[in-house]
């Protein structure tokens, strides 16, 4: 077993995958990550697919949303990469993307909502935390930015 601080290992914030849902969320998430000064950031937007049924939103609209989110992340991290995934299973897609871009950690900000709503939308936070194959960082809420 190696520890994350091993010089030959990747540092925790070496390459952070930042899942973002929409412009506002992207900005808040990026700001929450900013103080920790990650080396490299890749913004991820998962377009929720129906896989067998029509999506909640037209593809074109989803992609617009993704583009706006990336732009928001870049206002904080100008060099951030972007990655768009299409999947019904959002959490699975986040981990697949982490693998694909070779991220050192996933940093996310819970979008709140009460238990019922979290349950209905699949409780992403819980599944992120419990099924993670790589470090998952829960960013502070920091409602009013810094």
């Amino acid at each position: 077993m190696t520890t994350p601080d091993d010089s030959d290992g990747q540092s925790l914030l070496g390459h952070v995958l930042l899942p973002v849902a929409h412009e506002e969320d992207a900005l808040a998430t990026a700001r929450a990550l900013e103080p920790y000064d990650p080396e490299r950031v890749t913004a991820l937007h998962v377009v929720e697919k129906g896989e067998g049924v029509p999506d909640k939103t037209p593809v074109e609209q989803s992609e617009e949303l993704a583009a706006q989110s990336y732009a928001a992340v870049r206002t904080v991290f100008p060099d951030a990469d972007e990655h768009t995934a299409y999947a019904r299973d959002v959490v699975g897609a986040i981990f697949d993307a982490a693998d694909e871009v070779d991220a050192s950690a996933v940093a996310y900000r819970s979008r709140g909502g009460n238990r019922l709503m979290q349950f209905l939308s699949g409780d992403i936070s819980l599944r992120l935390a419990t099924t993670a194959p790589l470090p998952v960082i829960a960013l502070p809420q920091g409602d009013d930015g810094e």
């Binding site: 849902a21 929409h22 067998g52 999506d55 939103t57 074109e60 979008r111 939308s121």
Partner: protein
């Protein structure tokens, strides 16, 4: 796999499920009882009414398939009509589709309420009957589910449809064994107690059962292999559903004598009779079967309503994209990622329709049909317009058989069926059409920039067509500006010319209140893949970055936003055209040297390319600009309009003196002066210095131009640029003049490509 491929995840079965699931709903579960008893009793002939409905749906399904494979875009019918017939008819179609779906959803909810009432006692509220109360509860649940976008509903849809088809199959088999021809035909009046004249009014009533196949087209962009799957799914689902309806209704009427058929829950009633009271030791089979049918009816109506609410959000999105409605409606919910406002507004309409019109299910179902039929009719006309206008971009994978008979028949059948509706639904639908037209003129006309192929077609044949037709096309044409802020794209390639090009672009952008987009197009040899080039771009990046940051700092002199972009490409000048299109540029500014980088390579497509410019082009021959006066030689025409605009921009931003030159033959000086003065006035250059010279045009321009800092020459004919690029035009004015020359070429009309797909 490209992103586009990844977004496609609906297979053929899923697509069929959408169509069948939406169509099989309240129509078949509720209306047979109403239809057989309509107008004093239409009787078993309503089976034919259902089949006729299926035929009408099938003709339209063919047209929808062609349009859907040509344009797999969110929005379906609205989108095709807006593209072909223009935004006024687009508004009618969008509104018609939207309201039609709201009426249909209200109808499904009422159907749900009727079957719910079989199970539970529903309370009545003053003004609302028990069924309406049930319908309102159901409606609220459907809207809530869509608002939250609970994914789980999606997976259930396939299960529901499978279950539904199994239940109906079992019912048909059981019905077959208890089927009695005497029950079907032995009632007073035989098979057609109301005469054959009852067939079409019956079709008008039950046509709502066929609404749904077009929904497949609204999600065409999510289909795998849409060219094949879309037509199969649309045509297949109409075919399957028609057969199912014919079998079901015949079975029902062979089990229960039609005068006794329930007007609320006929399928449950028929099941109770069709199944034996007991099978062996098991008793209560009939009651159980009736209960299962009731559950089936609830599932069917729920899935229809669900799909319709979702489809209406797609239509709202498509209308918002074309600025026919405000995009406020299409805002996505931050937590649920659903178009929640659109769903709430549609939901509100559904609730209102249930509450106000829910007492009479016929009004809801027929209003839904009338509005959809209007859309279908327009869609068929749109198809004919696409075909006749011979739009090159219109390239459907599936084409309707027997063109033009099929679309003509589709339009006639659709409108013909409307005639069999009652006055109240026609009036109601008419009111929505009027409201849509009013909406277009009062709101959308200033906002949208979409022009239909039809008006393009009419205007391009202005001289062949009666004035009234052309005037009519102009009268309804959109007045919205294409882009809020024009984009001036600069193709920089050389550090020595960069500053001059940016100066020109900056002046124009400032004058027009637009923005500058500086692009550096890096040509990569064909042998090197673009990915490889991107990897090894460190050296490249540096030069590109230097060039573009110099451009950015030069643009600071002007009060305009600037963006920069490096584009790797295997192609040279063609990429400039591509970049102009994809970035929605209104003007391209490039260097004369830049046009030469395609030099030597004679590309077959180049001629065509430059012959059909995507936007205004300005080509500068010269390296430095130090402007105090410019000369604009003119002979009229679109390109010299562009020259005038550039001169105006330079005068406004850099304070240069503008001189206009008109070269005439000896003796024509007086009329020449008159022409030039008029031209100058018409272009806001009335106070410019006017020069009338005689002699050869090129030679005169060369001679007079010597005394100026810049000569702006408008192309006198189309394709000038292409000839410069290929070097076949010996443009001596340029070659020999020391003064920098700016060539301007404006496309004589916005190209069709741009009208169809550009200018979003």
């Amino acid at each position: 796999m490209s992103d586009e491929e990844l977004a496609k995840d609906l297979g053929l079965v899923s697509a069929m499920t959408i169509g069948i699931g939406t169509m099989i709903g309240a129509g078949i579960f509720v209306l047979p009882g109403v239809a057989v008893n309509a107008d004093g009793g239409a009787g078993p002939i309503v089976v034919v009414s259902f089949v006729v409905g299926g035929v009408i749906a099938m003709v339209n399904a063919l047209s929808v398939s062609e349009l859907g494979t040509a344009m797999p875009k969110a929005g379906g019918g609205y989108y095709y009509i807006n593209k072909s017939l223009g935004p006024m008819f687009g508004s009618i179609a969008g509104m018609g589709d939207w309201m039609g779906l709201a009426f249909a959803s209200a109808f499904y909810c009422i159907g749900f309420g009727q079957y719910l009432a079989v199970f539970v006692g529903l309370p009545t509220v003053p003004g609302l009957n028990a069924i309406q109360v049930g319908a309102l509860v159901a409606g609220a649940v459907f809207i809530g589910v869509n608002y939250v976008g609970a994914k789980e509903t999606g997976g259930v849809q396939t299960v529901i449809v499978t279950l539904l088809l199994s239940i109906l199959a079992v019912f048909s088999v059981a019905g077959f064994f208890s089927f009695d021809y005497a029950t079907l035909a032995g009632n007073e009046g035989g098979l057609a107690p109301g005469g054959y004249g009852a067939i079409l009014p019956g079709t008008a009533l039950v046509f709502v059962s066929f609404l749904g196949y077009a929904k497949i087209a609204t999600v065409a962009e999510e289909l795998k292999n849409p060219g094949r799957n879309l037509p199969i799914a649309i045509i297949g689902s109409v075919g399957i559903v028609t057969v199912i309806y014919a079998v079901l209704v015949t079975t029902m009427l062979g089990v229960v004598p039609w005068p006794e058929l329930s007007q609320d829950a006929p399928v449950a009633q028929a099941a109770r009779v069709a199944f034996p009271e007991s099978i062996g030791p098991v008793t209560g089979v009939a009651a159980g079967a009736a209960a299962v049918m009731t559950v089936g009816a609830l599932l069917a109506t729920a899935s229809s309503a669900n799909a319709s609410i979702l489809a209406s959000a797609r239509i709202n999105f498509a209308m918002g994209r074309d600025k026919i409605v405000t995009n406020w409606l299409n805002e996505i919910h931050p937590n649920y990622a659903t178009p929640y406002r659109s769903i709430l507004v549609t939901g509100g309409l559904i609730v209102v329709f249930i509450a106000l019109l829910g007492q009479d299910i016929e009004i809801l179902s027929k209003a839904a049909s009338v509005l959809h039929l209007i859309v279908y009719a327009l869609m068929n006309v749109g198809l004919i317009v696409f075909r006749e206008a011979d739009t090159p971009e219109y390239d459907p994978d599936f084409t309707v058989p027997f063109y033009p008979i099929t679309p003509i028949l589709g339009a006639l059948l659709s409108l013909g069926l409307v005639a069999f509706m009652d006055g109240i639904e026609i009036a109601l639908s008419g009111a929505f059409v009027v409201a849509a037209v009013a909406w277009y003129f009062l709101y959308a006309r200033d906002k949208t920039d979409q022009q239909g192929v039809l008006s393009e077609f009419i205007r391009s044949r202005e001289s062949d067509l009666p004035d009234q037709v052309v005037d009519a096309a102009d009268a309804v044409a959109p007045t919205g500006a294409g882009n809020d802020e024009p984009t001036i794209m600069v193709a920089v390639s050389n550090p020595r010319t960069e500053s001059a090009l940016i100066t020109l672009a900056g002046a124009i952008a400032q004058h027009e209140g637009g923005r500058v987009l500086a692009t550096h197009i890096v040509t990569v040899p064909d042998q090197t893949s673009l990915e490889k080039a991107a990897e090894n771009r460190t050296g490249l990046d540096q030069s590109s970055e230097e060039l573009l940051s110099a451009a950015a700092s030069d643009a600071e002199a002007f009060d305009v936003p600037i963006e920069t972009k490096t584009i790797l490409s295997h192609r040279g000048i063609e990429e400039v055209f591509d970049a102009a299109r994809t970035n929605d540029a209104d003007t391209v500014v490039m260097g004369y040297g830049g046009t030469r980088f395609a030099g030597g390579r004679v590309e077959g497509s180049l001629d065509e390319l430059t012959h059909d410019l995507p936007c205004d082009f300005l080509v500068l021959d010269g390296q430095r600009l130090d402007l105090s006066d410019v000369l604009v030689p003119t002979a009229g025409g679109p390109s010299s309009d562009l020259s005038a605009e550039v001169a105006l921009a330079l005068r406004e931003t850099a304070g240069v003196d503008v001189s206009l030159l008109y070269v005439v033959d000896e003796g024509d000086e007086a009329s020449g002066r008159e022409f030039l003065a008029g031209w100058a006035d018409g272009h806001g250059l009335g106070d410019a210095d006017l020069r009338i010279e005689t002699g050869g045009v090129e030679e005169t321009i060369g001679r007079v131009g010597e005394g100026y800092d810049l000569v702006i020459v408008g192309a006198t004919e189309r394709g000038l640029l292409s000839r410069i690029v290929r070097g076949s035009l010996a443009f001596e004015t340029i070659e020999n003049l020391d003064t920098p020359v700016l060539l301007s070429e404006r496309p004589s009309a916005r190209s069709l490509w741009q009208r169809l797909f550009g200018g979003r």
